[in-house]
């Protein structure tokens, strides 16, 4: 374990691993922030990641181009987010039930379609994916360069998205509308903002973002689609949103924290075979709870999250 601190190569490997583990979470969490800020709890992130992964795999499988896969993955995410939006925004179905139902559906339909479209090759034949593109100059910075600036396009896209979305959320009228709708939809309605419009936009956007997380899994990480490959990442992303206090930067950092502890626990096992691995496996979760307790501040949760808005209900 000590080697992480002494050996720069070991440190690089370790942080690289942490980063890779956190990227899909971060995409999903960024999307989730938007939907929650607008007042819709998106427990469907898990299914949306899966949809993105499936789309990315199928698109790449059919065309051989990861870019086409990316586009396809995005489209699948947005597509699956549409019924979620209809259910929770238009019909006012309880947002948690809607999300769970979407997850269930996504789990089945992606596996089903993967089996009939890609068949057995779905998880043997490696797909084309994105390659690492070291950024000139930046990638030469010791340790940091090798970790952060020797990645593929999706990771760089994430780097850009975090500040861009922060700006969008806190420095633009769109962001203002989103935050306001998530807090007091009635007031927004009377101010002439379309509550449903804002929520639809945010949910579809979150579908696309979560799908990007799925695309990363397939196109940058493992180059295959396997059933239920989201493996609970959507739920962890939900936790990261709260840990990051509904702020893009905070959530990204929270995801990084998850990644760090996940990478750490895999590594800690070697040094301590006598300690049961389950103890290490709980490390990311326990650490997040502790982080929450220690960093706990004012509860800034959007007040209207979970509540359907209907003008007639007042």
């Amino acid at each position: 374990m000590i080697d992480i601190l002494t050996d720069s190569q070991a440190l690089t490997n370790f942080l690289n691993s942490a980063l890779r583990l956190s990227i899909p979470l971060a995409f999903a969490a960024l999307g989730g922030i938007f939907s929650e800020r607008s007042g819709v709890f998106n427990i469907g992130l898990e299914g949306l990641i899966l949809a993105g992964a499936f789309g990315a795999a199928l698109g790449t499988y059919l065309t051989g181009s990861p870019l086409a896969g990316l586009a396809f993955g995005l489209a699948c995410g947005v597509l699956l987010a549409t019924p979620l939006a209809v259910l929770s925004v238009t019909l006012g179905v309880n947002q948690i039930v809607a999300g769970i139902a979407i997850n269930l559906f996504a789990l089945g339909i992606t596996a089903f379609l993967a089996r009939i479209t890609m068949g057995a090759s779905a998880n043997t034949q490696l797909l084309a994916g994105f390659h690492r593109v070291p950024l000139p100059v930046l990638s030469d910075i010791p340790v940091i360069g090798a970790i952060f600036f020797n990645q593929d396009v999706l990771v760089y896209a994430l780097y850009l998205l975090v500040p861009a979305l922060t700006w969008l959320m806190f420095r633009t009228t769109w962001g203002l509308n989103i935050r306001a709708v998530g807090h007091n939809p009635r007031a927004c309605d009377t101010a002439g903002i379309s509550v449903a419009g804002v929520r639809y936009a945010c949910l579809l956007f979150s579908g696309g973002m979560a799908a990007l997380g799925g695309c990363y899994l397939v196109l940058s990480q493992v180059f295959v689609f396997s059933e239920h490959m989201s493996a609970g990442k959507g739920f962890i992303a939900l936790a990261a949103i709260i840990l990051g206090r509904w702020h893009p930067v905070g959530a990204a950092l929270a995801c990084l924290l998850f990644g760090l502890f996940d990478a750490l626990q895999l590594r800690l096992q070697f040094g301590n075979p006598e300690i049961p691995y389950q103890i290490f496996a709980t490390l990311p979760y326990v650490a997040s709870i502790l982080a929450l307790v220690l960093l706990a501040g004012q509860n800034v949760a959007p007040q209207a999250v979970g509540h359907h808005y209907d003008r007639r209900d007042y």
């Binding site: 490997n13 998880n123 059933e227 493996a231 691995y277 389950q278």
Partner: protein
């Protein structure tokens, strides 16, 4: 022959996992083709549904009902009590009874042989073993692997990691990368869906690795040295043939290495001739009982 012979298998995970569940699925479909029997399967059967699934197949008149995996031991025994006319089988099990049979391999032997090959191809300092959970297969293979490796390099360090998830490909890959980064120049992963991730990591990092359950050399010629082919497909077909002929008994069938179902796959040409020869000899000794583990 009016009534066709019928067999069903109940599996805990995906039949497309390229690993444990897929062997179960392919085993039963092969039996259908080769033996002309009628078959059925259930996949993704959760724990609380095991007993009901097994019992229901028995009620529907299946002659042999298989629980695929050690977690079915208990459910199989209880279903067997309820349905004495049906023969229940549990793979990776260790129980037997009037109408209960177990079908298993001597995992330790396979681990030992893989460890032996690995040690021969390694620098001899560090090797890695990767699985998801400490279940009997995993720990037996781990022990065998360690002993086999130690038979060449007694001083070597074997790094072991358990990911806690059989199917999470991304996590398996990270775990394998981690092993390699820690110095392992050869890794032996035992996972379901996660297997792909582990083999990818080995391939990317240019270290040797091994397959399990099926021969995967052809799919991964750059990294896979050999596969521990504990082929439940063959084992299942053989067993069902026996059962159809009325020869199957309520006992534990443990298959040693060097049998039809339990063997090695194709040798990677990178393995020197002499190592191949030594390995074959080792298998003979294990199979003949000269070498006890």
């Amino acid at each position: 022959q009016d009534e066709p012979f019928r067999a069903a298998i109940v599996m805990p995970g995906n039949i497309t996992d390229q690993s444990w569940n897929q062997t179960g699925y392919e085993g039963i479909t092969r039996a259908e083709q080769e033996l002309g029997i009628e078959v059925a399967y259930s996949e993704q059967v959760a724990q609380p549904d095991q007993l009901e699934a097994l019992s229901d197949y028995a009620r529907r008149g299946y002659d042999v009902v298989i629980g695929h995996g050690g977690e079915f031991v208990d459910a199989v025994q209880r279903a067997a009590e309820r349905h004495p006319e049906t023969l229940f089988v549990v793979t990776n099990g260790f129980v037997s009874g009037e109408n209960v049979a177990s079908l298993t391999f001597n995992f330790k032997q396979f681990g030992y042989v893989i460890g032996f090959i690995a040690a021969n191809m390694s620098e001899g300092e560090t090797a890695g073993y990767l699985s998801a959970q400490k279940i009997k297969v995993a720990t037996d293979l781990e022990e065998g692997f360690k002993e086999g490796f130690a038979s060449i390099h007694p001083e070597a360090e074997i790094l072991v990691a358990y990911t806690n998830d059989w199917d999470d490909v991304a996590k398996a890959k990270e775990a394998a990368l981690n092993l390699v980064n820690q110095g392992a120049d050869v890794i032996f992963p035992l996972l379901d869906n996660g297997q792909i991730g582990a083999l990818q990591a080995a391939q990317e990092q240019d270290v040797w690795s091994f397959g399990v359950w099926q021969d995967v050399y052809e799919a991964w010629p750059d990294t896979v040295l050999q596969s521990a082919v504990m082929d439940f497909r063959i084992a299942l077909v053989d067993f069902l043939e026996m059962a159809r002929n009325g020869d199957a008994e309520g006992q534990v069938y443990e298959l040693a290495i060097g049998t039809d179902a339990g063997t090695l796959g194709e040798y990677n040409p990178a393995i020197p001739e002499d190592v191949v020869a030594e390995t074959e000899a080792l298998i003979q000794r294990l199979n003949g009982g000269e070498l006890q583990l």
